[in-house]
């Protein structure tokens, strides 16, 4: 076992991943450091083909029709040195009736000048399900540029959910862009949770097109900012299909000199469709703080608990 692998596994654990999953023969996993595939395991019904490129890895992922994977697929991406670039390109097909859950941890504990790009093209056929959770772990230097992009086609009766979380350390720059289109009876849920610190610059754009009859969607953002962090979040939700319905829910809490901007864009293109949105930006709710202080927590403890709960 080489030392890069051991260090990746250690960083994976620090990021909240379960290292035992990377050693189990019954659980699918893939570990990529820079453009090197350090570890891989497959399970029946899952095709996972990584191919190294000069600056990263191209991954073809297919879940065969009707297959339900019993355990999440564990993915670990990262760059351990202070400098480097990693470009992960994913093409995923979830065939008819298949179900898969992916748990990705992206680790950049020492980043001073690191670029991490993720480009994903995901297609869900009929009555499929794809749950994707991506958790980031960064050091304190704020030296990474993280650019996750995804384009998703959600077939009839299928469900696509994603949770992107960046809660540990200072990222530097984040530019997230997810777009999903839902067909008849489909469901799209996209959630982003980010804690911005230092001089972090955070840009998030999530767009959902509810094109099919009865398609539904939820775009949810929970952002906490402190120090001099800056965030702009754009949530676009369009209900174009008959009886499509969706909701945009954005909460941003700011502290110190941090700045936040939320831009909800909601569109309805059918008289039977409906989209709602709610957004709240500002400091932590005062009554919440006072309630916790009346239980004996000081103000900092109270604010930490409230922000931690919001990002949980």
């Amino acid at each position: 076992m080489n030392s890069d692998y051991e260090m990746m596994v250690e960083a994976y654990s620090q990021a909240g991943g379960d290292a035992r999953a990377l050693q189990s023969s019954g659980i699918a996993h893939l570990v990529v450091h820079g453009n090197q595939v350090l570890g891989q395991n497959l399970v029946p019904g899952l095709l996972l083909e990584p191919r190294a490129t000069p600056d990263g890895v191209d991954i073809a992922l297919t879940v065969r029709a009707g297959v339900t994977l019993a355990h999440p697929v564990h993915l670990c991406f990262g760059v351990l040195p202070k400098e480097g670039e990693q470009h992960i390109a994913v093409k995923a097909v979830i065939e008819r009736g298949a179900r898969v859950s992916l748990l990705a941890h992206c680790v950049f504990p020492n980043a001073v000048r690191v670029v991490h790009k993720m480009d994903a093209d995901i297609r869900l056929e009929e009555n499929a399900r794809y749950d994707y959770t991506e958790a980031h772990y960064h050091g304190d230097s704020g030296g990474a540029e993280v650019l996750p992009r995804a384009r998703v086609q959600v077939g009839p009766g299928s469900a696509f959910t994603t949770v992107f979380s960046l809660l540990h350390g200072s990222v530097g720059a984040l530019g997230l862009e997810y777009e999903a289109e839902g067909h008849d009876g489909s469901r799209i849920e996209m959630t982003s949770k980010v804690y911005g610190r230092g001089r972090d610059r955070i840009r998030i754009r999530e767009a959902g097109l509810l094109a099919g009859r009865g398609a539904c969607g939820l775009l949810k953002s929970r952002i906490a900012l402190r120090d001099d962090a800056d965030c702009e979040i754009v949530n676009e939700l369009t209900a174009a299909g008959p009886e499509a319905k969706g909701h945009v829910d954005c909460v941003e809490i700011v502290k110190d000199r941090a700045r936040a901007q939320a831009i909800p864009v909601v569109k309805v293109m059918d008289e039977t469709a409906r989209v709602t949105h709610e957004a709240a930006i500002g400091r932590v709710d005062r009554q919440q703080v006072l309630t916790l202080m009346a239980r004996g927590l000081d103000e900092e403890q109270a604010i930490d608990l409230i922000v931690g709960g919001m990002l949980k």
């Binding site: 709710d285 919440q288 009346a294 409230i306 990002l311 949980k312």
Partner: protein, 250 residues
């Protein structure tokens, strides 16, 4: 009976408006003291001053808790001394479980005690410990969980701001019994309420009107005074027939 809390000649002025004038009352150890009064009488302002919410400090007078002047102490220090407040409209928290919320105020932070506190407010622990203290709780459920959190904290004095509001009639008897249980546990209660049937459990009552104490005595006497004097005054004030000086004379 020694006093757990003394509010001494407290006047409170905010934005040039006198909200409380020369208010004095005392709550003995293991005593329930009810504060009655119409809307906008200053009851909740008094509760917030006692707890120190929002940094509010008496313009004149002082608040003494267990022998110490706490008028300028921050909220959390008052809480650590054994004083707490249950709000009329309790806050909701995203991502915070009932279990964790109840354990916040517990000296021992034991789940068994959290479960018992839920049982005390007639909520089944297995159904509630893992739920979140968020918008999905009904108003009545949230109110009971707030009372459970106060119970779990084992305070020396709990200020309960209208604990009966939003509680259905069937649960009212339990609510009154629950308030009484603070006394059995050796804790004092300052009970703010509109309902005379709830205030009847108190050992003493104080009636506040227009920011002033207008009567103090047994719950029955104060309730009678409230019904016969304040309510008729309020009706006539609403209808425009009250003498402008009448309130201050009372």
């Amino acid at each position: 009976m020694s006093d757990c809390l003394q509010v001494e000649n407290v006047t409170f002025v905010a934005d040039g408006c006198e909200i409380l004038r020369d208010v004095s009352l005392a709550v003995g150890e293991a005593e329930i003291h009810a504060v009655l009064g119409p809307n906008a009488a200053g009851k909740s302002t008094l509760a917030n001053l006692i707890m120190g919410c929002g940094g509010a400090v008496p313009t004149r007078g002082r608040i003494v808790f267990r022998g110490e002047d706490i008028s300028r102490l921050p909220v959390f220090k008052r809480a650590r001394m054994g004083l707490t407040l249950a709000w009329q409209e309790p806050a909701r928290f995203e991502g915070l479980s009932v279990r964790d919320y109840l354990c916040l105020g517990m000296p021992q932070r034991g789940e068994g005690e959290a479960a018992q506190a839920l049982r005390d407010v007639l909520l089944e622990p297995s159904l509630y410990l893992d739920r979140l203290v968020d918008r999905r709780l009904s108003g009545g459920e949230r109110k009971r969980i707030e009372l459970a959190a106060v119970l779990a904290m084992k305070p020396r004095l709990a200020v309960l701001d209208e604990p009966d509001s939003g509680i259905d009639m069937l649960a009212m008897e339990n609510m009154v019994s629950l308030i009484g249980s603070f006394r059995v546990r050796g804790a004092s209660v300052l009970l703010i309420s509109h309902r005379q049937e709830v205030a009847a459990i108190a050992d003493r009552s104080t009636l506040i009107c227009g920011g002033r104490v207008v009567a103090t005595g047994s719950p029955a006497d104060v309730a009678s005074y409230y019904a016969n004097t304040c309510v008729s005054c309020a009706v006539r004030r609403f209808s425009g027939t009250v003498d402008k000086e009448e309130v201050s004379r009372t």
